[in-house]
């Protein structure tokens, strides 16, 4: 089979609509005596119908915690700590009680995790796991739900769906399990899908299959996708807009083409420069970002990137820069951004 890379055509049209999900000032400060880890530190973004927003950043930058907060899936003792708003239609998800939230979760907004085995139930057949939200949320009968489950398996391109529906997760390959996770997440046709590193554990050929599939399902269902990944190449091929996280904050946000063509934040520039690309004549050395991400104890008061930044100016140490517009649809959090 041959298929083009999956960039939906309606990106421009989607941009004009009101956001489906609006995250503002999401914050999670974790006490780690004698320090406080500002794991997520005032994250704001919008997600519109039919679009894919890529949330990219290195490990530890706060991507997964951001996702778990907006899904309201943090467990104690962290569950009591989040601050901020997640506006979904006319409800603030952060203010809902668990009963109302679980009525939305898996129905209007669902999540796919990096490691499907930890989120699939090992002692329940695949078919039952897909049918379960259909019965619970949509009130389908067991028979209707079983039939729909098989249909979902076919939709995510699992060969022999009737047989796989009766199988237990451990019998499936990594790629098949991730398809099953996607089938469960999309069974109720949610408006929003949060996918946290959905292909990171998979080989490239399987990754290509899964990304292709997500793109097709999005075009068919019109869902908005928050695609979390550390892989900028995956973002380049699948997202419409990108938000780059560093040390708990979004440091730059832009339409995908603008971000790759003219990154303004020094960290984004460094990150893009350091990705190895397949070229006829590779550079003898890869550009590096010196140093490493600061830990909770040694994170500077001002801009967290300062110890590694070649453009740092005197103000950078005192105060963290706000995420401000620098061009239409393009925001950057930097006191001395690079030229576009």
């Amino acid at each position: 089979m041959s298929a083009a890379a999956s960039l939906p055509e309606n990106a421009g049209a989607a941009a004009a609509e009101a956001p489906l999900l609006s995250v503002s000032d999401l914050t999670l400060h974790i006490p780690m005596p004698p320090h406080v880890l500002r794991a997520v530190d005032g994250v704001s973004f919008d997600l519109r119908r039919g679009e894919t927003l890529g949330l990219v950043g290195e490990s530890g930058s706060g991507k997964t915690l951001t996702a778990l907060m907006l899904m309201r899936l943090l467990e104690p003792p962290l569950a009591a700590l989040p601050k901020g708003r997640v506006q979904f239609g006319d409800t603030d998800l952060m203010a809902l009680d668990e009963a109302r939230m679980s009525a939305l979760r898996g129905r209007a907004i669902s999540m796919v995790f990096q490691e499907p085995m930890t989120s699939l139930n090992p002692v329940m057949t695949v078919g039952r796991q897909i049918a379960e939200p259909l019965v619970r949320h949509l009130g389908l009968s067991a028979r209707e739900a079983a039939a729909r489950a098989e249909e979902m398996l076919r939709l995510v391109q699992i060969p022999d769906p009737a047989r796989v529906a009766r199988a237990y997760p451990h019998l499936l390959s990594g790629g098949m399990r991730q398809r099953v996770m996607i089938a469960i997440a999309l069974a109720c046709r949610p408006a929003v899908l949060v996918a946290d590193e959905p292909t990171t554990a998979l080989d490239v050929t399987v990754q290509a299959q899964i990304l292709e599939l997500l793109g097709e399902l999005q075009r068919e269902m019109g869902s908005a996708i928050l695609l979390i990944t550390h892989d900028l190449a995956v973002i380049a091929e699948t997202a419409h807009r990108v938000a780059v996280m560093y040390a708990g904050r979004i440091v730059e946000e832009a339409p995908v083409a603008a971000l790759f063509a003219a990154p303004r934040h020094p960290y984004t520039r460094g990150l893009l420069a350091s990705i190895p690309k397949i070229e006829r004549v590779p550079a003898p050395t890869l550009p590096e970002i010196p140093g490493m991400v600061p830990g909770a104890a040694d994170r500077p008061r001002g801009c967290a990137f300062m110890p590694r930044c070649a453009r740092a100016v005197s103000g950078c140490a005192a105060e963290a820069p706000p995420l401000d517009p620098i061009a239409p649809g393009h925001r950057v959090a930097c006191w001395n951004p690079a030229n576009g």
Partner: protein, 323 residues
């Protein structure tokens, strides 16, 4: 090509599958099923392929960390595939490995100094008195401060730990280092640091590398030559540029077309492979790739294709690829 340092031919590594009950042998995993590769002094051969295709097992068999079932491993002209411990000892110094997981591969209860002293102690090199100086020199070589010797692995970040792993591999001044996914667990900005370090060390010391990786973009930056594996066999070997821009094996082509590129809006045609890699416990007959190959013919299911040289340094194992 420079002088050959390593020549592996017909390497096979089979693992028994035992029943849970009574541990009887009920089958065989053909993890490595006839691998031929060569590495010249000072060059980097990359070994690529999807998980489970036998890269790690090939690397461990070359180092004689696991016993080959069949085949030949010649290091610097000497056949070592069946050497016992005593005759292997001098070769253990000359070949080293750097692992993927810098967390699992360093003993958490030893200081970095202790970890780096071990190779000298085991091989009785130098005197206890000159060890601190040797260790300090190693740490400087990989871009760490000598004071690191007093600290424990958990006090370091992933990238720094990988530097420690590299320092340990360098201690005995090997001629060949096998890197088993040495940068796969690192973030891109740190990955670049470690790749640059490994390239610098190679240039300074004339090291040969076998770089095992599933990341083709990384490979394209470090390799002189590339060998592509599928289900225990090498399907294509070529110089770097030929492999990335003139691959001939249908599997290599599919693999390359699946690699995402950091260029938005690049609407290329992608050849998406169907299905999963079959299990090496039940490999397909004939060409191992025939169940997923877009151009397979009847013959492919019956006959395994031999490697054929189609251009200097370029070998392909496919019935339909002719010079």
């Amino acid at each position: 090509m420079a002088e050959t340092l390593l020549k592996v031919s017909g390497l096979e590594v089979h693992f028994p599958i035992r029943s849970a009950f009574l541990r009887r042998r009920i089958g065989t995993v053909r993890a490595v099923d006839g691998v031929d590769i060569e590495v010249a002094r000072g060059e980097t051969l990359a070994l690529v392929g999807e998980s489970g295709c036998g890269k790690t097992t090939t690397g461990k068999a070359i180092l004689r960390l696991i016993d080959p079932t069949r085949g030949s491993i010649r290091f610097d002209g000497e056949e070592i595939a069946r050497h016992g411990a005593a005759r292997l000892a001098p070769f253990r110094r000359r070949m080293q490995i750097v692992f993927q997981d810098p967390f699992a591969s360093l003993n958490p209860r030893m200081t970095v100094g202790g970890i780096l002293a071990a190779p000298f102690e085991i091989h009785r090199i130098g005197t206890p008195a000159d060890r601190p100086e040797r260790i300090a020199a190693l740490l400087r070589t990989v871009g760490l401060r000598p004071e690191a010797a007093r600290r424990y692995p958990h006090e370091f970040s992933g990238g720094q730990r990988q530097r420690i792993g590299i320092a340990r591999a360098l201690a005995l001044e090997p001629e060949l280092i096998i890197g088993d996914e040495p940068v796969s667990a690192l973030d891109v900005s740190i990955q670049a640091q470690v790749i640059n370090l490994m390239k610098r060390l190679q240039a300074e010391r004339g090291l040969a590398y076998i770089m095992i990786s599933h990341n083709l973009a990384v490979v394209s930056h470090v390799a002189d030559r590339v060998a592509v594996m599928y289900l225990g066999r090498v399907v294509e070997t070529a110089p770097r540029e030929t492999l990335f821009f003139g691959a001939r094996h249908p599997y290599t082509q599919a693999l390359l077309s699946a690699v995402p590129e950091p260029v938005p809006g690049l609407r290329r045609t992608r050849q998406v492979l169907q299905g999963d890699v079959p299990s090496p416990a039940r490999p397909p007959t004939g060409c191992h790739f025939h169940l997923r190959c877009p151009i397979a013919q009847a013959r492919c299911a019956q006959e395994a294709p031999a490697q054929r040289i189609i251009a200097p340094g370029h070998a392909v194992a496919c019935h339909l690829v002719a010079p």
